[in-house]
Symmetry: C2
């Protein structure tokens, strides 16, 4: 205890007493985003510079106190909150939130780890560039957290995950040394790629304090289309056509199952969902001039028959809106001819485009309105997704009759949020408690059969630590353990996350 | 010695006696590509399967014999040949050269490590897809070697280095275990990114035996332009415009200095080099309809005045050749208006395009004809290249009067082959022996000043091992050493390359 007091004194000297939080309401740092777990920190320490981070790490390491690096604390897998022991230091990076340099000629921006993603996006846009990482929590999450977890989001089909957007890192090692790898180089073959090792390591190997990220020219136009498709096979066929017709213009490709959309229709009836009600034109299979959502209210009957799946597509164009529209129309025509789209609409305005995306973004919220549910974040080779869905849907229906599938996600990347809601009328909370483990087991077993991943974009944290031990190859786990021991031999960096130290 | 004989017996049992080479001319395996060093192997072992590789590694590890993984043996930094001791086993992967699966719906191909790059390109093209990795040695190098060294080449500006094209690996670890990470997933956040750790590790952490690589739709048209630019600043400005106008269509952007081109003109006079002779239109700065090379012979006077730099640009288009041409013309018009291009020509046919690229590709050959020279493979943030070149050119001229700069490379990636040729009339061999070290030191010191890399795409091998120790940050070197010890504790995997074990 007095050891801890000595450490706290040291930490106050390093970052200033007001930045060592030990009292008051620390919920924001101690509770995870999904409110699954609440820990207790020895202190929340908020350094303002890389050197302060290094000094904090050295002090904690000398005291044998483990550290939990934290950005916006918006993770989905309980990876950035302290355990219940009251002996861990939360290392919050949010005071380090500055843009260091924007290099227009090099198409790079160098930022502190605590920079909020949305503010980073805005800074880039104001300078005439696109920073393409985009995800639901962008108003709160930080680029350091995005890197630590290798966040995905909605533009991965074109720009890749966070790791693909990163050219260099600054990291404080578990020993409190500063590695400055902020080079902004697009080519650098001078040894092992330390950058990619720290990215996605969820703070278990060191603390990311800054990064150099790629910028892209702002597209001249961004168009959104919305299509009803007759099957998951058709959705995958549409994706293939979209790659051919749009090439790198394809910047978004999201799929939504019928039941997922029905929840949006039910809980957010003010949203207009195109093609929700069966129409004669849809049945005829002929191209139809659809009507994009106007934002106006229109009543919908839950359970009215629509297509089994819907797709939101985005086309970013560096020429003009007219060109983007022409490309989109050629694509959708070809898709209708091949029968992989039954109805489609291209947004006529930014407002319409936003409304279409809003449908997709409303699914998690609608699902929460419907009640607690069992979430998955899986990936499968795109070509095998139809078979995976058919097989796994059937297994679930057989073993958990009435369970309702909220199936949606980033089909362009083979990433589904294949979530399971309690049967109609069941107690959702009880369903979660009783069925989460067996349903997880069934889904992950199926993912294994299809050579997929049990965590596509959310990471491991502590939530999936044991599952990883079960589903990942023993050789890979051995390699990971060897790396963890090599870089953090005393297991002080976010212990109990990703891999046991 | 008898230990070695026992091992050789074991190896013969594993791969078959004809695939354990100990006699005859082993130059192809024992001498490096640039003929800088000649080693001697205990044996060249040629396994046919991953399990054979694993068995070979286990046998060598048990005998304490170190291994040198080798693909096409086309590396530039003496990284895949044995040392002179006669005690190392060369593990040649070239018999493992099959395509395992091509998954059109997933846009991936899974191949054995020993597959020759060009044959991989051709397989993909026949199936209607582009595999974009392209480099000078593609007729001999293997995809395993490309991955081991994270090869670059001429399409990096759009598609990234080899690592960016790889979704998954199969690796035999230093312990002889097989890690199967051939998932073909575009998103997989289940722990440390082992893939990126093995890529670029030059066989020092394990042996890559197969890989799943990304495919792209074949572009509908590929056009090449050739432009004379008044300065390196102008070349960088042209690159910025090209990003804006062509976006992801920009698939190649190479720069060539005047002296580099003069060597092509001198040694390959049958090649027609556009804008080589000063023309009135060029001097006027007005747009001019250039004439692309026809392949016909036309005499050139060495030393005739041209622009200080020339650029080869490639535009890949997913619509049509007409569209590609229109985009190129808009770009070149804008560039001429801004004064960053003085003359430009767009190839009218595939033959013309090939001829333009051939000029660029002939530079290393022309340089070899001119005599031995001091090669560099450096990268700098694109925005700082003009300043780097100005400063470093001046330093070189001051300290090595008359030294001639063969400056060319992948400007789109900030990667220059900033080579130095002996002064006119000097003995090139003697210049190399006497001046290589001091010229390396000067250039790399300057690279350090500009926060660049001393090895952009060629890797470290043994040629740059000591230089890396001098130029890389001690923290990074410590991290690399810790990883090497963790994964290859007995230093048996390609020892003496990249980092001392």
């Amino acid at each position: 205890m007095s050891d801890h007091n000595q450490l706290l004194e040291q930490l106050r000297r390093i970052v200033g007493a007001p930045n060592v939080l030990t009292e008051g309401d620390l919920t924001a740092w101690e509770q995870d985003w999904r409110k699954r777990e609440r820990g207790r920190a020895l202190a929340v320490v908020r350094p303002a510079t890389t050197l302060e981070v290094a000094a904090v790490v050295k002090a904690c390491a000398a005291a044998g106190v483990s550290m939990v690096p934290q950005g916006g604390n918006t993770g989905m897998v309980v990876g950035s909150t302290p355990d219940a022991s009251g002996t861990q230091v939360v290392l919050s990076l949010t005071r380090m939130n500055k843009v260091r340099t924007l290099d227009a000629g090099n198409l790079t921006i160098t930022v502190d780890a605590g920079c909020v993603l949305q503010s980073l996006q805005e800074t880039c846009e104001q300078a005439g560039f696109l920073f393409p990482l985009s995800l639901a929590s962008e108003g709160s999450c930080t680029i350091g957290g995005n890197l630590g977890t290798n966040a995905g989001g909605t533009q991965v089909v074109r720009y890749g995950n966070t790791r693909e957007l990163c050219l260099g890192l600054e990291v404080v090692t578990a020993q409190g040394e500063v590695w400055n790898g902020l080079t902004g180089l697009r080519k650098d073959n001078t040894g092992y790629d330390l950058r990619h090792l720290f990215i996605g390591s969820e703070g278990t190997l060191g603390v990311i304090t800054a990064a150099t990220m790629k910028l892209y020219p702002l597209p001249k136009a961004q168009l959104t289309a919305y299509a009803a498709v007759p099957s998951m096979e058709a959705a995958v066929a549409l994706l293939g056509l979209a790659h051919q017709h749009l090439s790198a213009g394809l910047t978004g490709f999201e799929v939504m199952g019928q039941f997922a959309l029905s929840l949006v229709v039910k809980h957010f009836p003010q949203q207009r969902v195109p093609f929700w009600q069966e129409s004669p034109a849809a049945a005829s299979g002929r191209p139809k001039q659809g009507t994009a959502p106007s934002g106006g209210r229109e009543p919908h009957e839950v359970g009215s028959v629509g297509a089994p799946y819907y797709v939101v597509l985005e086309n970013s164009d560096n020429e003009s809106e007219a060109h983007a529209r022409a490309c989109f129309e050629r694509l959708l025509e070809a898709a209708m001819e091949q029968g992989c789209v039954t109805d489609a609409v291209v947004a006529e305005s930014m407002a319409q485009a936003r409304a279409l995306w809003h449908i997709r973004e409303s699914i998690p919220l609608a699902q929460a309105e419907e009640g607690l549910n069992i979430k998955h974040d899986i990936s499968i080779a795109v070509s095998r997704i139809p078979e995976f869905v058919r097989v796994t849907d059937a297994l679930l229906q057989k073993q958990f009759p009435g369970a309702r599938l909220v199936n949606y996600g980033h089909l362009g990347d083979g990433n589904l949020h294949y979530n399971v809601q309690a049967p109609e009328g069941h107690d959702a909370a009880r369903f979660l408690v009783e069925q989460e483990n067996p349903i997880n087991a069934l889904v992950y077993e199926s993912v294994d059969q299809f050579n997929g991943s049990i965590s596509a974009e959310h990471g491991v944290g502590s939530l999936k630590l044991e599952k990883l031990e079960h589903h990942k190859s023993p050789v890979a786990l051995d390699l990971m353990r060897a790396i963890k021991h090599a870089l953090d031999p005393h297991n002080l960096m976010n212990p109990g996350r990703v891999i046991r130290g």
